[in-house]
């Protein structure tokens, strides 16, 4: 499971920032449901700007000590382009106010679309001195909108804590639903009897 495998047992407790309405704090653990999986392994990642040595690879290297540092004007953008339309449910970022202070993002906007030309904002969140993994769910209120279907996702850092110009982000993960192990089915199987008979190995 992702949570076990990738959990960085961070001893640092969650930041005790004043949780305003809708302000995310970040948790030391990456808790993701078992029925979700990381979707962006085969996607194309790019950033609007970066400092030498702190490039986009640091966002995907599963190492929380390396970070991406932007080097330009705000908003700083991380673009993720998929090879086909995918269903996405969750975006998780690892940021650390204690280490990065004014580099820590404070306002993040998530946009989705078919390409650079028709991105539309789907979610905005504000962070309050976060330390750890920040889970941003992409679902709407309506159960029909649990997933977004998109070719491209853009994570925009609109502003930082303490009005910093550039930003540090240490890791980003994107989650979506697992495909049905049995092909051509409308629903997943849940009971043991069905699952046992559902595939040949």
């Amino acid at each position: 499971m992702e949570s076990d495998a990738e959990e960085e047992a961070a001893a640092t407790p969650a930041a005790a920032g004043a949780p305003g309405a809708g302000r995310l704090k970040g948790s030391p653990e990456l808790t993701v449901d078992a029925d979700m999986r990381e979707m962006a392994k085969t996607a194309a990642w790019s950033v609007s700007s970066c400092k030498a040595g702190n490039g986009v690879a640091a966002l995907r290297d599963d190492n929380l000590n390396t970070y991406w540092q932007s080097d330009g004007a705000q908003p700083h953008l991380v673009n993720i382009q998929f090879q086909k339309k995918v269903q996405l449910q969750l975006v998780v970022l690892y940021v650390d106010f204690k280490l990065d202070e004014s580099y820590t993002p404070s306002k993040i906007s998530i946009r989705a679309g078919d390409g650079f030309h028709n991105l539309k904002e789907i979610k905005t969140v504000e962070l309050a001195k976060p330390v750890g993994w920040v889970h941003i769910s992409l679902s709407g209120a309506d159960p029909r909108e649990t997933f977004i279907h998109t070719f491209m996702l853009q994570i925009a850092v609109l502003s930082n804590h303490l009005n910093g110009r550039d930003t540090h982000v240490r890791q980003i993960k994107i989650y979506g639903p697992r495909p049905n192990p049995v092909p051509a089915q409308p629903f997943h199987f849940t009971s043991r009897e069905f699952i046992t008979y559902s595939t040949i190995r």
Partner: protein, 704 residues
């Protein structure tokens, strides 16, 4: 000095002192260069796992034994073309395949590895005809799916034929490590087979003449058991004495004994050379054998010697190396006592070569009682042969049926085995496999566990066992099994398959893939490892690679229906429905009893809009296995597609009784009600479905 050195070499090989043997043999070859000594050196190298050395020294040699050893070395080094060329030279189509049955077997394996199935089948059949007790040949035929009924292969007539040609071969084949043993015993019996009945008579005559000789023989039996590379010239010497001392046998016996001894040594375990020259001799004697069969029976003196042999039997738990080894010892002493040694050793080694054990002796005894009432006294031989053939019949039939996926019948056949044979690793694994194919994972689990407990070092069926645990979702036991297997043998592909299954169960497909790839690296002829790699790539949605690996699996073993199934699933996902249907059908043709396969075939047909056939297939699947809920569910799905809502609902209602806790079922019912606009029922069903906690994807659909 030469014979002394040869004797020492054999003794070293027998006692597994390979380096000593190699050293001595190299000195021997330097001092007395002759092809037979070179063959002996090659054998030493092969024993020491240095096929390249054997290859080097044997290159270009023409004697049949040399050719056989050379072919074996080539095979071990994966130089299949050369091996084939040696065994069956293109330029000389009439040259006989050396080493008789085992040569044909090796050639068959080479053909199979290079994809020439029909030629391989031919070779295996040939091998089996030459030596009916060559189990490996029969096994290969079963795997190719074209083995004939065991009643024909191991029939009464075969028994008679063997009897005429053999001295006795008690059926002390333990099912454990059965293949090796059977190969060994087959060698033994193969060699015995070549003995003409005159030989038997001679033995009987010997028994009559000098019963007292036996006690002397006993202690010598052990020390002369060296693995020999049948130095043919050495065996010439005993035979004249044999002929001379035999007062009863006519002169031709000399030839027979000669031939017999040569061929015995020749048909010894693979590393031995066969004297191809003797093959024509053998065949001639076979006919004479039938004539003499009756007279052979009149010599009952065996009975006195048998008890002694069976005692020796229990003492000497050697493997068939000893079988061949004895012949090396023959070169040394040539008193009349040694003659009996010769023959006795052949008996002993034949007996011991089939790795005797007390339990098998017991198993033999009750059959023996029955047999004795029927046959006359001499028939330890006839008895032994029949017992062995009977055992082969049962095991062979069971194996054949399970390869044809007629698992219920196979299980019945296996149950006929005596308990001692049944409670062995090989048989229990086969039984477990049969249950696995029947999708009865609980029973399979039980049997595999028993097998593993009884013989923890049999790794052969353990990959299937790990799959069974995977299906049963037993994480703990699967990881324990995997750890155990790795600790037993880190270099066995089955162990890594088990580890991979462990990770696959936890949905960590990348690590699982790594492990399966290790397994493939360890043995690229292990079809299941390729298939499992394919499954993992498919789970990672890397369809190109998964197709590649499934195809690799099929290259190794065309009847591996899991690979056909895997390809079908990939094409189904890629929406190439024609391809999917074709592959599922191929899988179905190989295993026509699997309800899961029928279900998938139905699904493919449904996607192709061939709804009538799809429904028929689903009906078949439902009938094939009552416990499988899936075909009924699929049937309902198809009916929904055909807009036959009421029938679909009926089907689902029936299904509800069998599998009441399946959220997808209720979801489907809800969907149908929604279509029918019976909204309150729809809501009700969806509610139940939600209660059963489906994954998020379903939640979205259900909450409409």
């Amino acid at each position: 000095m030469e014979t002394l050195m040869v004797d020492r070499v054999h003794s070293s090989l027998r006692l597994f002192m390979h380096r000593n043997a190699i050293f001595l043999c190299e000195r021997l070859c330097a001092q007395f260069p002759s092809e037979t000594n070179v063959q002996l050196l090659a054998t030493c190298y092969l024993h020491n796992n240095q096929p390249y050395a054997a290859y080097h020294i044997l290159k270009g040699k023409k004697l049949p034994e040399s050719r056989y050893l050379f072919a074996t070395s080539c095979f071990r080094m994966n130089l299949l073309r050369e091996a084939e060329e040696t065994l069956c030279p293109v330029n000389e189509p009439n040259m006989e395949v050396p080493s008789g049955a085992t040569g044909h077997y090796l050639l068959g394996v080479i053909y199979r590895c290079t994809g020439r199935i029909s030629a391989a089948a031919e070779q295996f059949t040939q091998a089996l005809t030459l030596d009916p007790l060559l189990w490996s040949a029969y096994e290969e035929l079963c795997i190719l799916g074209i083995a004939e009924d065991t009643d024909e292969c191991f029939s009464e007539s075969t028994a008679l034929r063997l009897q005429q040609e053999h001295t006795s071969t008690p059926t002390l084949v333990k099912s454990n490590f059965a293949n090796e043993n059977r190969v060994l015993s087959s060698r033994v019996s193969a060699s015995l087979r070549d003995i003409s009945p005159k030989q038997i008579k001679q033995l009987h005559a010997n028994n009559i003449a000098e019963v007292s000789g036996y006690p002397h023989v006993r202690p010598t039996a052990l020390h002369v058991q060296n693995s020999s590379t049948s130095n043919v010239p050495q065996f010439d010497t005993p035979s004249p004495t044999a002929a001379q001392t035999s007062s009863i046998m006519p002169p031709p016996l000399f030839r027979n004994v000669h031939a017999y001894q040569n061929t015995i040594s020749g048909d010894a375990p693979t590393k031995q050379k066969a004297n191809g020259v003797n093959q024509p001799l053998r065949r001639k004697y076979m006919d004479e054998a039938r004539l003499k069969k009756v007279s052979g029976r009149l010599f009952n003196s065996d009975s006195t010697s048998i008890p002694r042999r069976s005692e020796r039997l229990k003492d000497t738990a050697t493997n068939s190396n000893s079988n061949t080894s004895q012949f090396g010892g023959n070169g040394t002493g040539h008193s009349s006592g040694s003659r009996y040694e010769v023959i006795d050793e052949m008996w002993t080694d034949n007996i011991s070569g089939t790795s005797s054990s007390v339990s098998t002796a017991d198993g033999r005894s009750f059959e023996q009682d029955k047999a004795e009432r029927i046959l006359l006294q001499d028939s330890k031989l006839a008895l032994g042969i029949r017992e062995l053939l009977g055992l082969f019949r049962t095991l062979g039939e069971g194996f054949r049926l399970s390869c044809l996926f007629k698992c219920q019948e196979a299980l019945e056949v296996y149950r006929k085995l005596p308990e001692s044979q049944f409670n062995t690793g090989w048989v229990l694994c086969q039984v477990g496999k049969a249950y696995f194919e029947l999708v009865d994972y609980l029973e399979a689990d039980r049997y595999f566990e028993l097998a593993h407990r009884l013989s923890p070092c049999t790794l052969d069926g353990m990959d299937i066992y790990s799959t069974v645990l995977y299906h049963l979702n037993e994480e703990m036991r699967l990881s324990y099994l995997a750890q155990e297997l790795i600790s037993i043998d880190r270099l066995s592909p089955q162990a890594w398959c088990a580890v991979g299954n462990c990770f696959a169960l936890r949905k960590d497909h990348e690590t699982a893939l790594k492990n399966f790839q290790r397994s493939v690296q360890l043995d690229s002829r292990f079809a299941y490892a390729h298939t499992l790699c394919g499954h993992e790539y498919s789970a990672l949605e890397d369809y190109e690679n998964s197709i590649k690996f499934y195809r690799c699996a099929l290259q190794v073993d065309e009847r591996h229906y899991n690979a056909w199934y895997g390809l079908g699933v990939v094409y189904l996902r890629q929406e190439k429905f024609e391809f999917a249907e074709h592959h599922f059908r191929r899988a179905f043709q190989i295993n026509p009893r699997s309800s899961v396969l029928m279900c998938y075939l139905g699904m493919a047909l449904n996607s192709l809009k061939r709804n009538k056939e799809a429904l028929e297939m689903m009906e078949k699947a439902i009938a094939a296995d009552k416990k499988n809920p899936l075909p009924k569910y699929q049937k309902a799905l198809i009916l929904l597609g055909l807009q036959k809502y009421q029938e679909a609902l009926d089907e689902l209602e029936r299904l509800k009784e069998i599998a009441p806790h399946e959220s997808s079922m209720y979801a489907l019912m809800g969907k149908i009600y929604k279509q029918l606009n019976i909204l309150d029922k729809a809501v009700f069903c969806f509610g139940i479905a939600l209660d059963l906690k489906p994954p998020a994807a379903d939640l979205a659909i259900i909450k409409w």
